[in-house]
């Protein structure tokens, strides 16, 4: 490596700030109609509950179409046809148009809730609070939660709502729970979403679950990295397609892999497999392509962020030394 190593963390920090501004406040700049257009064009950005934002989350149309398009039509006609799945397919294609560019980097670089959790953790480090990781043996169980949420809250409950088996609140079950809705609306100064819906038992129960989760993550994120990302259904959805996009994390194992575990310590998602000597295990479902493991790997060319055959960035002792002068792998600043 010649010259100064490319400052990936700094670039990511600026991208996160910029994308937070775009996804949460973008509508103020481009106007409400263009925000709607952006919402259509960028289906995996912020939240449709924001009244002035520049995007919405792909989980919203999935619930909407599962409930209103599939569930309600089946309830009315009693027929299940392929035609009913067409809107879901179109949403999937629209989602994939951007996913093929970003892969799961959406989570690590764009998601406003992911960024907010990182900022809260940085605040916790400034305040010299304790840090906590997942207790040993919990990783597998916690990883399963996001799949459960994706299946039940994004598809099963909305379908049951559309079929008329459950009250209407179930038709947008995940949106009622999602803490990102609360964060991004609060960030625009809108406190309306913080008011609990008390329409019926489902309204209140789903809403209460959301507020509990939101409150928990606000304080937990100060001492634990990315507490919500670990159970986020959007991460699960992205993970489903991670092999279909060219951007990915790869590993060329080194004999010392698994010994220093610096990459594992740097990973905001605490993915133990990133330190594994097995190359095939490195790009896990939980990986958000943030690139911190690459920066904190002290060996040359072991970890790489690749776009198809092109290496965008790779680990290097110089890069490791440069970032280690500023911060520890766990996020603590030096000095």
């Amino acid at each position: 490596m010649t010259g100064r190593p490319f400052p990936l963390s700094r670039l990511r920090a600026w991208v996160q700030v910029a994308m937070f501004l775009v996804t949460v406040y973008g509508g103020v700049v481009v106007g409400p109609y263009a925000a709607d257009k952006l919402s259509t064009a960028l289906p995996a950005l912020s939240c449709t509950y924001d009244r002035q934002n520049g995007g919405w989350c792909v989980l919203r149309p999935f619930q909407h179409q599962t409930s209103h398009q599939i569930g309600a039509t089946v309830a009315r006609t009693g027929n299940v046809t392929w035609e009913l799945l067409k809107p879901l397919g179109i949403t999937l294609l629209a989602f994939f148009a951007w996913f093929v560019v970003l892969n799961k980097a959406f989570c690590g670089w764009v998601c406003p809730l992911g960024s907010a959790q990182e900022w809260l953790y940085a605040l916790g480090r400034r305040l010299r609070l304790v840090t906590r990781g997942l207790p040993a043996g919990w990783m597998g169980r916690v990883r399963a939660i996001k799949w459960f949420i994706l299946l039940v809250f994004v598809f099963v409950l909305p379908l049951a709502g559309g079929l008329g088996w459950l009250p209407g609140a179930a038709s947008e079950a995940w949106c009622r729970v999602c803490p990102s809705r609360l964060l991004t609306t609060l960030a625009t100064g809108n406190t309306e979403e913080m008011a609990l819906m008390i329409g019926d038992g489902w309204d209140a129960a789903l809403g209460a679950l959301g507020y509990l989760l939101f409150g928990f993550l606000v304080t937990a994120a100060c001492v634990m990295r990315q507490p919500f990302c670990r159970i986020c259904p959007l991460l699960a959805w992205n993970a489903l397609f991670k092999r279909l996009a060219p951007l990915r994390l790869t590993k060329n194992p080194h004999p010392r892999c698994g010994q220093c575990r610096s990459c594992h310590a740097a990973c905001p998602m605490e993915i133990p497999e990133v330190a594994s000597p097995k190359a095939g295990e490195v790009f896990q479902d939980d990986c958000t392509l943030c690139g911190r493991c690459i920066e904190f790997c002290p060996q040359e060319d072991v970890l790489r962020l690749k776009l198809g055959p092109v290496t965008l960035i790779h680990s290097h002792p110089e890069r490791f030394r440069a970032i280690s002068r500023k911060e520890l792998a766990n996020g603590d600043r030096r000095g």
């Binding site: 709607d36 304790v130 840090t131 809403g207 993550l217 001492v223």
Partner: protein, 257 residues
């Protein structure tokens, strides 16, 4: 009852009492289909304006009859629907919009083009999943021959509410605060979020060279933002969640410095 000097015709006895203007009745037939019926004396023509500037407006040829509008994917979003009626000394424009939940162009170009001499232009229209709501202020532009109409009073009518006037500023903009929501009535329907909606009309009149112009914008509004919601419950439960997270701040088992 007299509407624009015309006697009430048979079948008009049930014209709602909350507005002095005629009404447009919309019936959603599907995601891309809408039936519109003028609930007014059978004179005037219905016109449909697409948000796509390339699509010319469609006007019904048989005056006073209902019409069905079908749009295809890629041509959805807001459409402007207007009933125009010209009489020797009077001109009426009764307009409403309908949001087709299909991908389509922004309605900006559609709103910018004058569609009648006197008109009320929402600026902006609510986003998809959003509605006008009681206690909220929304802007509407009053325009005559395409130019802002300053100092004119627009009157808001809604079921169960006193008519209320709003004067336009120098830019021709009226800041309309939607009134309280009436108790459930036959005028209400349920919106996308299962919240009730009820109609409103915003009307303005203007006289130019002895000719009387009336423009009415008709749409729906919902109850106030905190309808069936409890702020303190929301904050309380959030506080409980925060308390749970604070337990992780304790030094002790599993905590690292």
């Amino acid at each position: 009852m007299v509407v624009f000097g015309l006697p009430v015709l048979p079948g008009w006895a049930d014209l709602p009492a909350w507005t002095p203007h005629p009404l447009l009745r919309k019936e959603v037939k599907g995601r891309g289909e809408l039936r519109v019926a003028p609930f007014s004396p059978p004179s005037g023509e219905l016109s449909f304006y697409s948000p796509d500037p390339e699509t010319p407006p469609f006007t019904t040829t048989r005056v006073g009859e209902e019409a069905t509008l079908r749009v295809e994917s890629g041509k959805g979003n807001y459409h402007w629907i207007a009933l125009h009626r010209n009489e020797p000394e009077r001109e009426l424009s009764l307009a409403t919009v309908h949001f087709f939940s299909l991908v389509g162009p922004s309605p900006q170009a559609m709103l910018a083009v004058p569609k009648s001499r006197l008109e009320i232009v929402p600026s902006p229209l609510p986003r998809e999943h959003s509605v006008y709501r009681a206690e909220e202020a929304w802007d509407f532009l009053l325009r005559f021959d395409g130019l802002p109409l300053a100092g004119q009073v627009a009157t808001l009518y809604a079921p169960g509410q006193m008519a209320k006037g709003f004067r336009s500023d120098e830019r021709g903009v009226v800041h309309v605060v939607f009134p309280e929501f009436s108790k459930p009535s036959g005028e209400q329907k349920t919106g996308h979020s299962r919240r009730p909606l009820q109609p409103f009309q915003l009307g303005v009149e203007h006289v130019m060279a002895g000719r009387h112009f009336t423009s009415v914008f008709q749409y729906e509004y919902g109850p106030a933002p905190l309808f069936h919601r409890s702020p303190w419950m929301g904050w309380l439960v959030t506080g409980v969640g925060m308390g749970g997270g604070l337990l992780l701040w304790r030094r002790g088992r599993g905590a690292k410095r």
